[in-house]
């Protein structure tokens, strides 16, 4: 799950990014509208968390540009103006959700997840394959009733593979969706994470390697 945070307050942006990364999301940060647009042109984000009160290019304009571009990216708008008409206006601009500041961080996480789920209709909150169960909201994976101790990145890789419903997921896609732009595309971080995940999932092996294509469950 890849998220872009657009917030001009650098410390707030860093804190939100840290929190969302701990939740297993790949998070990039932009501090202004121009940076947000260049990043959304480069990467395929699931959710853009957009501060409406940006200096220079306003959050409204960024939102409009994203909607006009017609990507599948969902926009979650953050704003200090929480009056009803402000919220209505924000949603009219094409934002998928709207949160007035200050908000509870847990709510932000829940709303980001809900947006992603909405973008992939028919996806149950609990993904399953064989005796493996993954509760996406609670970030808990169980195999045969036993809870697995997975890191956020491992959970994200597992979620992506389960979401693909048997289709092959390439290492590039895993890198794009699970890791943020700080990750080195030439490192073997994907391979390492997948092998660690395999080990933690135990036997019989669930993740299958498709040569020259990627992985699938």
């Amino acid at each position: 799950m890849r998220v872009l945070i657009v917030e001009d307050h650098e410390e707030l942006a860093a804190t939100l990014a840290l929190g969302l990364r701990r939740e297993g999301m790949a998070v990039d940060v932009a501090h202004d509208g121009a940076g947000a647009l260049s990043r959304t042109a480069l990467h395929d984000y699931d959710v853009v968390v957009l501060d409406r009160d940006l200096p220079g290019m306003r959050g409204d304009d960024v939102c409009r540009a994203l909607v006009e571009r017609g990507t599948r990216t969902c926009v979650l708008m953050l704003t200090a103006a929480g009056a009803i008409e402000d919220r209505v206006e924000g949603l009219t601009l094409g934002a998928d959700d709207y949160m007035p500041k200050p908000f509870a961080f847990a709510e932000l996480v829940a709303r980001v997840r809900a947006l992603v789920r909405r973008a992939q209709p028919g996806l149950p909150p609990v993904l399953a394959a064989g005796d493996l169960r993954l509760d996406c909201a609670q970030r808990i994976a169980r195999r045969g009733g036993h809870r697995l101790e997975l890191s956020p990145k491992e959970l994200a890789v597992l979620e992506l593979l389960l979401t693909a419903e048997g289709a092959v997921v390439s290492p590039e896609e895993l890198l794009e969706r699970v890791w943020d732009e700080a990750a080195d595309p030439f490192s073997n971080v994907v391979k390492v994470t997948v092998s660690r995940l395999r080990r933690k999932l135990g036997d019989p092996p669930l993740i299958e390697t498709v040569p020259h294509a990627g992985y699938r469950i």
Binding site: L12, T15, L18, G19, A80, P102
Partner: protein, 449 residues
């Protein structure tokens, strides 16, 4: 009084117009009547009568006589006459005598009908032609016909007046309808009345001008509220997020939590400063209740003393020219103004740049001016800098750049003192700000004795 129609201007104009028309028509009718009556009055009156023979020797026995009078009454003078007797035509003297007989002995009354009746009763004369009846008949019919015409024309004029008033007042209706639509939500709309450049158009343009000013004021107010809520809520969000994220971290230890706590306190202090600044802004916008005398030069020295270290650290060159500048007002607010100007000059400066501070008295005003080197400020941006939360380069963020309220507060303080803040962009970069304070107001001392 519910049953009365609403007394609109249109109705009143129509009624006024109709009433005036009716008045003018009635006057015209009256004049016509009087003139026509006069005309009829001078008409000839013809009286026929039998005259006793002894008065008219020439007429002979009991001749009939016809006479024309210029008017009726005892003083009537016959103008001509014909006698049907055998004799020659009567001479004027004879006619006069006959008239006296005919009209004599009659009470001196102007009513010709009465005279004629009297004459007939006496058996001296009969009414040959009742001219009075004819005259009053004519006058009556004149009155009737004119009255009907006046009534018809009055109705027509009321109708026309209604139409005309409606036509003239139509722009007012348009204006009312458009003005009713305008609220604080759509203050950008205007009456934009089209048509000739007349009084109504002037009214509409005046109203549009008022809306312009209102819109600006509302827009500034709206921007202030939006900015203030952004500036106040963002640190709250940050504090909450920092604490929540730290608590959600399963690997959190005492050291990391302590670090978060320190950052939360720092954010809280930032908020305190912002709230303090907002309160100062509100206080200085309210005006000054009591005035104390003070010298701007003293205040400036005090402000600069507390910023020496900052100036040294940034290697700024301070050019100080302090002349006495006595004024009166609230010294704490004036010190705030000076501090804001100096802080701006320090903050928005190049490293090793220049800060010029001067106080003086000129033209009865105490003046403090602060100029600094720094990045070039576009002159069109200068007015915006005086608005709350506006900073240069479009950045609007409460970080080390200050609250963004400094210049607004300074301007409000200068205004509260009855002075003004003048901000100019220097062509070589940086700002030059000047605050004028009025000369000290001496409290009038009661005269001894």
């Amino acid at each position: 009084m519910r049953w009365l129609p609403r007394r609109t201007v249109r109705l009143r104009l129509t009624l006024l117009y109709g009433a005036l028309f009716l008045l003018a028509g009635a006057a015209l009718l009256g004049i016509t009547y009087v003139l026509a009556a006069g005309q009829l009055e001078t008409k000839q009156v013809t009286i026929s009568g039998t005259v006793p023979t002894h008065t008219l020797a020439t007429v002979g026995a009991a001749g009939a006589l016809q006479m024309h009078f210029s008017s009726t009454g005892p003083d009537a003078v016959p103008t001509s006459g014909t006698a049907s007797g055998a004799g020659p035509a009567p001479s004027p003297q004879e006619l006069q005598a006959a008239a006296r007989v005919l009209l004599g002995g009659v009470p001196s009354k102007g009513d010709p009908t009465f005279i004629l009746t009297q004459l007939a009763k006496d058996g001296h004369a009969i009414v040959a032609e009742q001219l009075d009846t004819q005259r009053s008949n004519e006058l009556r019919s004149l009155l009737t016909v004119s009255g009907i015409a006046l009534a018809i024309m009055a109705l027509v004029s009321v109708g026309l007046g209604w139409l005309m008033a409606g036509r003239v007042l139509a722009p007012l209706g348009t204006m009312a309808a458009r003005a009713q639509r305008i609220s604080e939500r759509n203050l950008h709309e205007r009456l934009a009345l089209e048509g000739p450049d007349d009084e109504l158009r002037e009214l509409a343009d005046t109203f549009d001008g008022l809306l312009d000013r209102l819109e600006h004021a509302f827009e500034a107010q709206r921007r202030f509220v939006a900015n203030a809520s952004h500036e106040l809520r963002t640190p709250l969000t940050l504090e909450r997020a920092m604490v929540e994220v730290a608590l959600a971290d399963p690997a959190a230890d005492v050291a990391s939590l302590r670090k978060i706590c320190e950052r939360v306190i720092a954010t809280g202090e930032e908020q305190e400063r912002l709230i303090e600044a907002l309160l100062t802004l509100a206080r200085s916008q309210r005006g000054i209740a009591e005035r104390e005398s003070f010298d701007l030069a003293d205040l400036t020295r005090r402000v600069l003393a507390s910023r020496r270290a900052d100036i040294r650290r940034r290697r700024l060159h301070l050019d100080l020219r302090l002349e006495p500048a006595p004024t009166s007002g609230e010294p704490r607010l004036a010190e705030r103004l000076i501090a804001n100007l100096v802080d701006n000059a320090i903050r928005h400066n190049h490293r090793a740049g220049l800060v010029q501070v001067a106080t003086r008295t000129a033209a009865g005003a105490a003046t403090i001016s602060v100029a600094n080197s720094g990045p070039i400020v576009p002159p069109e941006e200068v007015a915006r800098l005086l608005e709350p939360f506006e900073r240069l380069t479009g950045a609007r963020r409460a970080t080390a750049d200050g609250s963004g309220l400094g210049l607004s507060i300074a301007a409000a303080i200068a205004r509260a003192h009855g002075g003004a803040l003048v901000v100019e962009a220097q062509p070589e970069g940086g700002l030059a700000v000047r605050a004028d304070f009025p000369a000290p107001q001496r409290t009038p001392r009661p005269l001894a004795g």
